[in-house]
């Protein structure tokens, strides 16, 4: 399959949106574009499985290499392994759900969809890039759309949040940039991930560059203590913006931490693994406890995201094959789950015009569909078997337990304890908003989800269930890629 289609489709859609005449056209073109993206993602999945079934064991499939800046050895080098395929699948689902829930955006519709599509484009490009320079290019593309989405269509203290997000992410990028140039000059002027993975980089340079790259990407994925943009950014963003931020953008960081920092600098990863574990265990517990204190639904989900993303960083820090597979599963699972959570919160807010848990109650009676989805996503978040969250967290814990020493055991136990806290805040939030008597008169007249919202929710729920009930296919996709990374770490 030609991977350029994954960049071409959103790009063409975005250009078409720019030239469309009215709001109806904009929406339908975007929806059509997102459907094409989903189709492409599934075609990619099946083509990938087909190739693997035919015993094509190349590390990267569908490789394409075009010269860009030849004299600097910068190339458009694309290719996918199982991790990229899973992430692309996640992106396409979130994009279509995001396009659907934004159906009623009245303010500057054209610009809104244009920026959404641009954000998606950045993510696709990022996940298929095998050249650090191009990877960085696509990573940065998504910063400005995020800023504008929050700043223009957001709510609350949106300017502050938009600024904070843009500056913190750019700060992360600055660290990545330095780390990237460091790699470039140590490894004989190459940005190519595959070539870099075969070069021996001196240990002292690895120890110097690893923190730069890991922390740089870590900012994107809410590495404690650099997570502070997450609550503000997510809560101020418009619904689709939050979905993209939490569902896709935070995954860019996790992917980068693994593919760039850990894979290319294995000695550095070993050196700093314990610090990563401590930080992510703190993030998991801190996120969970902070969530308990929140009264605003979006803040609840934002802080719980910090906690959940901590699991994927914990998995990376554990440096075992199972834990890394689990970390990747958690990325996919959390992407779907949190996007769905923000979508539902958006739906509730559009109707009740409040996000405060205390001001709602008994919504199950007036909007059964939305409430059911709310329950599903809540249960997924607290790790109930049958949903994706359970599979992912379980895999992380199993992988973590493979490290037999006391330090890793304690960290694993501490992280596992957060599940109890998660149960408390999830059950409280769902119980107070959905169950009980209706608190406000006006809530009696609320309508249930419209077709577009139902469709968006169904798509994401289907994703969650597909992982939760039959995790085998995702495991097949991720495990060989994780093995490749482990081989590099083990020095094979």
């Amino acid at each position: 399959m030609n991977l350029l289609l994954l960049i071409g489709a959103p790009l063409l859609t975005a250009v078409a949106v720019l030239f469309s005449r009215n709001k109806q056209q904009v929406k339908w073109i975007s929806l059509l574009g997102s459907i094409i993206q989903v189709i492409l993602a599934f075609v990619l999945l099946f083509a990938f499985r087909q190739e693997r079934a035919e015993n094509n064991t190349a590390q990267m499939l569908f490789e394409q290499n075009y010269k860009l800046f030849d004299s600097l050895n910068i190339n458009f080098h694309f290719g996918v392994d199982g991790i990229s395929v899973a992430m692309i699948l996640l992106t396409s689902l979130v994009v279509i759900a995001g396009a659907l829930v934004s159906w009623n955006i009245e303010k500057m519709t054209k610009e809104f969809y244009f920026l959404l599509l641009l954000l998606g484009l950045g993510a696709y490009g990022f996940f298929i890039s095998l050249d650090l320079f191009i990877l960085f290019f696509f990573l940065e593309i998504s910063v400005i759309p995020k800023y504008l989405l929050i700043g223009i269509w957001g709510s609350g203290k949106k300017e502050y949040s938009a600024n904070k997000l843009a500056l913190m992410l750019m700060g992360g990028s600055a660290l990545i940039l330095v780390g990237m140039l460091g790699l470039y000059f140590t490894a004989g002027h190459s940005f190519d991930i595959l070539a870099l993975s075969k070069t021996d980089i001196p240990v002292n340079i690895q120890n110097l560059l690893f923190p730069l790259l890991f922390v740089g990407f870590g900012v994107f994925t809410a590495l404690f203590p650099l997570h502070t943009w997450v609550p503000d950014g997510h809560s101020s963003a418009p619904t689709a913006g939050s979905m993209f931020l939490a569902g896709i953008s935070m995954k860019l960081g996790g992917y980068g931490c693994l593919r760039v920092a850990t894979y290319l600098l294995p000695e550095g990863a070993k050196e700093y693994a314990n610090i990563i574990i401590i930080l992510s265990a703190i993030a998991i517990l801190y996120g969970a406890f902070a969530t308990m204190m929140q009264k605003d639904l979006k803040y609840i989900n934002a802080y719980s995201s910090v906690s959940h993303v901590g699991f994927s960083l914990l998995g990376i820090g554990m440096l075992t094959q199972t834990a890394i597979t689990g970390a990747l599963m958690q990325m996919v699972s959390h992407g779907l789950m949190t996007a769905l959570f923000f979508a539902v919160i958006g739906m509730v807010y559009d109707r009740t015009h409040t996000r405060m848990v205390g001001e709602m109650g008994g919504l199950m009676k007036v909007m059964p569909f939305i409430s059911t989805v709310f329950f599903i996503v809540g249960l997924c978040s607290l790790g109930l078997p049958g949903f994706s969250g359970f599979v992912a967290e379980m895999t992380v814990f199993m992988g973590s337990w493979e490290n037999a020493d006391a330090f890793h055991r304690i960290a694993t136990i501490a992280a596992a304890m957060s599940i109890v806290v998660t149960a408390v805040y999830i059950l409280r939030a769902t119980g107070q908003t959905m169950m009980g008597p209706i608190k406000t008169e006006s809530h009696l007249q609320l309508k249930d989800a419209a077709w577009n919202e139902k469709l968006a929710a169904i798509i994401l729920v289907a994703g969650i269930l597909a992982i939760g009930i039959a995790p085998g296919w995702l495991n097949d996709l991720l495990r060989p890629a994780a093995e490749e990374i482990m081989n590099r770490i083990a020095g094979k």
């Binding site: 010269k67 290019f137 910063v143 750019m170 940039l177 330095v178 460091g182």
Partner: protein
């Protein structure tokens, strides 16, 4: 004789236009509109002609030296002048002495051409003066405005001061080496203290022209007082040409002292970036804002220059090319708004997107490009400068530069925020943009988006020698 015409063709073309304008002026004269169209067409032809017959060679006993790369640098300046003639059309039509203005501007351009091509301290000094004095007269062109005269006065005084320092440096160097030709000086350099003193004086003069901190104090006042056409000329054409000759002087003439000037450049680059950025944070007037931002940009150029290899030259030329489009787009939008409404403050730009979406998008693109955010060309420009600067494995230096990019993003976003997000009860009313200006803005916008992605432009610059 034939060589004289091919090697000096850029200079001769500009001189021809100057004389044509002179004859028009002392002859019957022309209406501003038709004269402006004529000049625009001539400048366009001049720009196109700049691509052809570029050869390597020297004239006048090694005083004048040109290569395809130098011809390309001159053509970047040609392009910038052409774009300025389009972008400031509104102001040109109203101004009283249009032929004189263009004569001055093109004389300055001629001076810059000779300066870039100079291979001898004498012609270097003369052409530098030719490139400076007309600009001071141009700065005074808003005759009824007091600020304009004030700016011109500051400019001429600081220029006089800096040429004094330059002359002192040159005379010391001549005293130490007994020659004024660049290659011969290089052969004589041995790092004696007189030579170091001369070197410091010469670099100081460059620092004045490039507004490198701590010699930047004239910049903001002059930019603010001058007419927008002059401000954009100063910030793009002047800066670009001096950066080019600065590279030649450092890489060729002072090559034996490279360890010394590397340290010096690192210190100057950091000071310039940090100061420019920190001062830009607090500015309210868009011209002062762009003045400090251009100081910060010069800091980044210094990062690229510090590499001391061919990558450094390529990255700087490439960056200046992108900078022409980005900065002129920003100044162009500011000029349109100032010309139609007289508003020059960032607060006045609040709610601009509601009334003038086209201008807002162009300005936003320009600012993103200046900030170095992809997919704009500025991203590639900045990144290659940092790549060039990183060649010496001074990662902390790159880190400081990269962190400065964040500060700069903050203040560029301030303008974007004002345009797109802030509410305003009486925003700038919808402006009907003159088609010529619109064309120029579209060219700039297209340049900002395309130059980075069209990688052959960079490769082309790299092949020039």
């Amino acid at each position: 004789m034939n060589e004289f015409f091919t090697l000096m063709k850029s200079e001769l073309a500009v001189t021809a236009i100057i004389f044509l304008l002179l004859f028009i002026k002392i002859g019957k004269g022309m209406k501003n509109e038709s004269l402006l169209s004529l000049v625009q067409v001539l400048l366009l032809l001049n720009f196109i002609a700049g691509f052809f017959f570029n050869k390597t060679g020297n004239l006048f006993g090694d005083m004048f030296y040109t290569t395809p790369l130098i011809a390309f640098q001159k053509n970047i300046l040609n392009l910038a002048v052409y774009l300025i003639s389009l972008l400031c059309s509104d102001w040109f039509k109203k101004t009283g002495h249009l032929p004189e203005f263009f004569m001055l501007m093109l004389s300055a351009l001629l001076g810059m051409f000779l300066m870039i091509s100079s291979s001898n301290l004498l012609i270097f000094y003369l052409s530098l003066e030719l490139a400076t004095i007309p600009v001071a007269a141009m700065a005074n062109f808003d005759l009824e405005k007091k600020r304009s005269s004030e700016g011109a006065m500051k400019m001429i005084l600081s220029s006089a001061f800096s040429s004094g320092i330059l002359l002192f440096g040159i005379s010391l160097l001549y005293g130490a080496t007994g020659t004024i030709s660049f290659p011969e000086i290089t052969a004589q350099l041995d790092g004696s203290s007189v030579q170091i003193l001369a070197f410091i004086f010469i670099v100081t003069a460059f620092a004045f022209k490039l507004s490198i901190v701590p010699f930047h104090l004239w910049t903001a006042d002059v930019y603010e007082g001058s007419p927008m056409a002059v401000t954009s000329f100063l910030s793009v054409v002047s800066k670009g040409s001096v950066a080019f000759i600065f590279i030649t002087v450092l890489y060729k003439m002072f090559q034996p002292m490279q360890d010394m000037w590397y340290t010096l450049l690192v210190i100057l680059a950091i000071a310039t970036m940090v100061t420019g950025n920190l001062f830009a944070l607090r500015q309210q007037n868009i011209k002062r804002f762009l003045a400090f931002s251009s100081i910060a940009q010069v800091g980044f150029i210094l990062v690229g220059i510090s590499s001391n290899d061919y990558m450094g030259i390529t990255a700087v030329v490439y960056f200046v090319l992108i900078y022409v489009f980005s900065n002129l787009a920003a100044f162009g939008v500011a000029a349109v708004i100032a010309e139609h409404t007289g508003k020059e403050n960032i607060d006045d730009y609040k709610g601009l997107y509601k009334t003038n979406p086209f201008l807002s998008w162009i300005l936003a693109l320009a600012l993103f490009s200046l900030a170095g955010v992809p997919p704009t060309a500025g991203f590639f420009g900045k990144l290659f400068l940092l790549t060039a600067g990183g060649a010496k494995a001074a990662y902390w230096f790159i880190l400081v530069a990269a962190l400065n990019m964040i500060i700069s993003l903050y203040y560029y976003l301030r303008v974007v925020r004002a345009m797109f997000m802030d509410k305003n009860d009486n925003p700038v009313e919808p402006i009907k943009v003159n088609p010529v200006v619109k064309l120029a803005l579209v060219i700039c916008g297209a340049g900002i988006i395309m130059i980075g992605l069209l990688s052959w432009i960079f490769e082309y610059i790299k092949t020039l020698h």
